[in-house]
Symmetry: C2
Subunit: 407 residues, 2 copies
Amino acid sequence: MHDDAQPDAAVDSSPGALTRARGFKAGATTAGIKESHLPDMGLLASETVAAAAAVFTSNALWAAPLIVDAEHVADGRIQTVLVNSGNANAATGERGLTDARRMAEIAAARAGCGADEAFVLSTGVIGQYLPMDLIEAGANAITPTAGGGAAFARAIMTTDTFPKEASQRFEAHGRSYTIGGCAKGAGMIHPNMATMLAFLTTDAPVEAPILRAQLREACDRTFNMISVDGDTSTNDTVLLLANGAGGGPPIADAAAVNPFAMALEAVCRKLAIDIARDGEGATKLIVMEVGSAASVGEAQAVARSVVRSPLLKAALSKGDPNWGRVLMAAGNAGVRIDPSRCRLAIGERTLFARGEPTGVPEAQAAEAVTGTVVRIRLELGRGEAAATAWGCDLTEEYVRFNADYVT
Amino acid sequence: MHDDAQPDAAVDSSPGALTRARGFKAGATTAGIKESHLPDMGLLASETVAAAAAVFTSNALWAAPLIVDAEHVADGRIQTVLVNSGNANAATGERGLTDARRMAEIAAARAGCGADEAFVLSTGVIGQYLPMDLIEAGANAITPTAGGGAAFARAIMTTDTFPKEASQRFEAHGRSYTIGGCAKGAGMIHPNMATMLAFLTTDAPVEAPILRAQLREACDRTFNMISVDGDTSTNDTVLLLANGAGGGPPIADAAAVNPFAMALEAVCRKLAIDIARDGEGATKLIVMEVGSAASVGEAQAVARSVVRSPLLKAALSKGDPNWGRVLMAAGNAGVRIDPSRCRLAIGERTLFARGEPTGVPEAQAAEAVTGTVVRIRLELGRGEAAATAWGCDLTEEYVRFNADYVT
């Protein structure tokens, strides 16, 4: 059972995860794009061209870098990544596209690869043009190192309060490999990639078609199951690079793909949970488990509907075990739920069963929501499928924050 | 052009709209269900059995009264309505159903009609059983009168800050008729019927099949186009009664149905806009117009996506004309928007066109969001269809409110 708020025992969340796999270097700098004068550019480079797969936002309005990246990653080959925070290069039209292409050329020049082997990302304010002089000077100021993953993880932060890093080792064909990465999140996080960037690296030899399939599957169960505020940004991207620096034959058969896929999902899950936990203004992580659903898709729909309910999120922020709002939100998922077959528990207390309240006194129910993790479990009584979604509470701080912060 | 924040000139929003049509009486009382000791029960009765149509919540978990009402309204005949606030009779299982049936019997006894000609509704806290002794005593304490519409409108309020009432006259077959009603809203309002109740009456002779079709259409363009917080409740219902007390032949041909339909929509629009304006903690009404869409459905999807964006709603609460968040939210509607064909205006200022910002200084743009009505217009450049949605800003007060109020 991994679908919970506890990091998997085997996941290493110490700093530097992005460059823990062999053959990757990274670095960061303060280019001056953010007004805060905090680090705002990161550069990642593989020693050799890596197999690559990416998942992009479901928002119809893609920011300029995503349009360029989709072209560059189409052949499954990427060697370097240049990213800036402080400016999203979104809603910037033709000039934004030109700037994104130029940013790829700058990155490629640093890595000694072709521009179409460079991947670029931007996050921050929408509707302003990139300061290309700062971007170019910043990229040239970075010297990637094998220990640079931690600096990269900090440089991509916007409203995050802590960097998100995770790595895990796995074995295949008798060899040991590492998969690791970092992510940024905070506001606007919602299923299907909100202003969320995640960068993943592995030294395992995995070719692009398998990378794509496994990354999509891992994202569907992790990054696409978190919600901070129900909005999905124009820039969200998850990138996975496999450079094969760990040697050995390609990871292609089930016996080798399975440990790779499990490690990939564990890393993605840890990063995703940390994003939910660090939602703007959040004080509680909500872990919403849906069981005995007729299908995984239906379980996911119900779990996501609950973690995005503003009414429930506001109640939990003040320690109110408002199970009625859980049911209400579950009922909005487009699934034909029969309340007489449902069972709902918050923490260890079953509060609703067979269509009726169980009569647990509110003071007892409230104990389950006092901590920083609130675990809710809803059984639908429809089948065998299950899913978990993660979210956070909604506080006055969130509103203050988003009223004052210009994105 | 009626799709805006200005009430239609012909709509009368003075108190008493529910009983303005001939042959309807209403009244209210303080039964003691609400802790506040404010009025919490209302009774509406038609002199004769009326043709009836209802639209119920899209939430899969219907509260008990809706299950009973759907049975009673199936034959298109209702004579009386009994409603309480303070307790939603939702998530109450078999006992809740029994209570709702008993409530219908109580109403029918007062009106001298069959129990299956009574319609009952409850709104308030979820998961608690109805205090049937208070319900029965309350119903018996009400004496409906022809001027009782205003008292009824106040008795259905929960977190509303003002009663919502509207009526309009229309002519058909050379006769003059009235359609009027009242609604309650405030929290949990979202397209497809949130904790929203609306009661509509007309003295026009309209049979149930036409009532049903016209009510569905009016709801799709009004009540289903408002959003306060994106949640949809278990209890939302719109009921329309036509008792024919105005005389004349049945309203059935287009020449008679059209003026009826227009008046119905005008009344629904006024009530819906007032619900959006009175969202919990709201300080601004958002009027989101989408134009040049490929279909009405697509225009509605985009408009609704924008008015439900927490990020945009938080920005507007502080007077930030954040057009980037409008675009982001529009991009989440599942419509393939091409930004190079879009034009976005807030108030009179076009802020984004042909894929790029127009460069209007922020101070000028901010002028358009200083008032209590913020009008946003997005042209998609895809076709001829249009739609309008209404919402409200998201304030710290909303969070405070929903963290403290137990529903």
